[in-house]
Amino acid sequence: MASIAPTAQKPGPLTRARFWASGFKERDTWVAYGFLLPWFIGFTVFIAGPMIASLVLSFTDYSVIQATNWVGTQNYHDLIHDPKVSKAMMNSLVFTLMSVPLEIVTALVLALVLLRVGRMAGFFRTIFYLPKMTPPVAVAILYLLLFNGSVGIVNRVLGWVGITGPFWTTDPTWVKPGLVLMSSWAVGGTMVIYLAALRGVPQHLYEAAAMDGAGAWRRFRDVTLPMISPALFFTFIILTIAGLTEFTKAYTAFFGAGTKTNETEAALFYAVYLFRQSFEFFHFGYASSLAWLLFVVILVITFIQVRVSKRFVFYQGER
């Protein structure tokens, strides 16, 4: 049987534009755009507008108070030579590298456990999700209490098994690991996503695998993981972005009001440094260039993640 090969050439941009415009002869097109309009206005006013404004400001010395001058690429030149930028970026990257795998693994383990709990699943789901609803500011205060080197619960528990815990909140080596551990406090959100994904895995795949002699680990590796890979990939991206933009917990615990004695450069995350440059030192132009650098870094990391994911993520229905 002869194959039906597409013989017509791809439509050009002008043809596509005409085709798009012709859609407006249809009532449904108008209705659809009418419904889209509120989002479009919101996006323009609250996201695209400020982003464009921020890009323009990054080439100025805008300080809100004084007259604004065009400084060209000076802000970008300055940030390359600012040692605190690389320090803050490294802090954020290290935090992300530690927190993302920990949250994914913890959430997945909890979701797998919940999947087998049966009747009490709803109760435990709620219990595990509750910490997610705790404001990050409260979590930061809790962090200082739980991880206190002298009387904190964490070190007490470590002491029960013969481990002398470090000074989590003052030792630069342990500040980030402490914050990472505290971040797993709110693992409930990711866990709920995984639980939903796990419930969507068709049972017959497990049955078929079992009939082929696959053990529990093999079923998990070759059935569960591929089937929930879109959820894993989604959370991987979201958590990476959240890690790179981490602000509230670090700021509240180490840099907020009344915490002058807590300050440590080990917790100077990129978003914290950006905030300081803008709202404490009034360098809004410079802070805008910092924001754009972060945007580019996140964009590149996300692009790499998306490219790499094509080898690992399995979408049902995709050829």
């Binding site: 407006f24 002869k25 249809e26 009532r27 108008w30 209705v31 755009y33 009418g34 309009l37 509120p38 206005i41 006013v45 300080s63 809100v64 108070i65 004084q66 200082l144 206190n148 080197g149 002298s150 009387v151 904190g152 002398t164 470090p166 000074f167 909140t169 003052t170 030792d171 630069p172 002058k260 004695t261 300050e263 440590t264 450069e265 080990a266 300081r276 709202f279 404490e280 030192f281 009034f282």
Partner: protein, 449 residues
């Protein structure tokens, strides 16, 4: 497409646009207070507070005609910047004196020359060093409010327990102080159980440098002096007091466990030998643990002279304020001798009703402080607290402040970061202060352009 649907869609589009425009106008519109009479005074950063604040605010409200909008909450840079950006600035703001010069250098505040001469404000009544803190390029930009004089609080039990005398804790002789620190501190299993002498780093770093005969900033606020030999030596010594406890980690984590404002505070529990502290803490101790045995000592420099690092808030008038004259009247009244004395009386009566001691008020108005001490204050019958009050009143003349700088926040951040790097063990005092000097000077030079 039906005409009806086209019309409907157009109506929907128009409604959305209207909603956006209306919302923008609504958010840009002044708050309800601004719809009142034009002579309403907009105060920002003060808000209702304790009897000292409220009594003076009542007097000031009467002085400006009774129409004042004084919302709750303290000064917030973000909020204030937003008001500057929108052009809807308050008439008078209450903020940290350390921030005044920076805002003034950026043109956000108006000089008070006209206010002071027009309303005949007697500047001599204010402590000179507090005025210097808010004077930028020869012009006064604020009226000072409170001060927080610092003295050394000594726990007599701990001193006796270590076999020392209170005089051993004098900050004049650093060698003896280091010895006393080692004698008083206690550790157990790598953890601190009692602090000997807390140098209060990083925040009291300027006090230690001053004690060593130097200043961290030039008088005109334009030259950072953070890495001088004397500054490095001061930080080295102050840090050595902490290092004797096993380092910043054990020291800080133990200090964080204290019930600082409770009856079981660190003095009541003999968890510290001595430390320099702001004046308010005498009131805290007198209220929560009146039976503690303390001695109040002046912080001495290495020549034996008393020094007092003071800080506090000020009133300022933003550029573009609608009612600068009323704002001036408000500031004048709030910081007047009569207002402070009346507020002190109210506080004294309130404390008496609760059977609590009154430990005085320490303001930038030296005339008021003296009057409060002479006319309102009554000895508590507890010589330790009575001596503390007497010391606080009498050491006013030794007060010093950090000079006004156009990059105040960045300058402060530079030396704070340096001290924190030393505490964290990541740099030596010399390395940290060299870096801070570079950062601070760069920031000052940029701001002063």
């Amino acid at each position: 497409m039906h005409v009806r649907w086209k019309r409907l869609s157009l109506v929907a589009v128009a409604a959305c646009c209207l909603a956006v425009v209306a919302t923008s106008f609504a958010s840009a519109a002044p708050t309800s207070g601004a719809f009142a009479t034009a002579t309403q005074l907009e105060v920002y950063g003060f808000g209702p507070g304790d009897e000292i604040a409220n009594t003076r605010a009542d007097l000031a409200t009467a002085a400006v005609g009774g129409n004042v909008d004084n919302p709750r909450g303290g000064f917030n840079d973000q909020q204030f910047l937003a008001s500057l950006a929108s052009g809807d600035v308050p008439d008078v703001v209450y903020l940290d004196r350390a921030k005044v010069a920076e805002y003034a250098a950026k043109g956000a505040f108006q000089p008070l020359t006209q206010c002071v001469t027009g309303q005949k404000i007697d500047l001599k009544q204010y402590q000179a060093s507090t005025l210097k803190e808010i004077t930028y390029k020869g012009k006064l930009y604020g009226i000072p409010e409170f001060t927080n004089p610092r003295t050394v609080i000594v726990d007599n039990h701990v001193v006796a327990d270590a076999g020392l005398k209170v005089s051993d804790l004098s900050t004049k002789n650093w060698g003896r102080l280091a010895f006393a620190n080692r004698k008083m501190l206690q550790t157990s299993g790598g953890k601190v159980t009692r602090i000997g002498f807390d140098p209060k780093l990083p925040e009291f770093f300027p006090l230690w440098v001053k004690a060593n005969g130097a200043d961290i900033l030039s008088k005109n606020g334009l030259k950072a002096q953070l890495n001088t030999k004397k500054a490095v030596a001061a930080l080295t010594f102050a840090y050595s007091l902490i290092r004797a406890h096993g380092g910043w980690g054990p020291f800080k984590s133990f200090r964080d466990t204290w019930d600082f404002f409770g009856a079981g505070n660190q003095v009541a529990k003999d968890q510290i030998g001595a430390w320099p502290m702001e004046s308010f803490y005498y009131s805290t101790l007198a209220q929560n643990s009146p039976n503690v045995s303390i001695t109040a000592m002046p912080f001495l420099n290495r020549k034996g002279g008393a020094i007092d690092y003071i800080s506090g808030n000020a009133w300022a008038i933003p550029k573009g304020a609608k009612n600068p004259d009323l704002a001036c009247t408000w500031m004048k009244t709030m910081t007047s001798t009569a207002a402070w004395v009346k507020a002190a009386k109210v506080r004294f009566d309130a404390q008496k009703l609760k059977n609590r001691p009154f430990t005085g008020i320490y303001t930038a108005n030296v005339v008021a402080d003296r009057k409060v001490y002479e006319d309102v204050y009554q000895k508590m019958g507890n010589p330790q607290f009575d001596n503390a009050v007497s010391l606080l009143v009498n050491q006013r003349k030794y007060g010093f402040t950090i000079p006004a700088s156009p990059a105040g926040a960045e300058f402060q951040q530079a030396w704070m970061d340096a001290v924190n790097r030393v505490l964290a063990g990541s740099q030596t005092p010399k390395q940290a202060l060299d870096q801070a000097q570079k950062e601070a000077q760069t920031a000052i030079d940029k701001a002063a352009k």
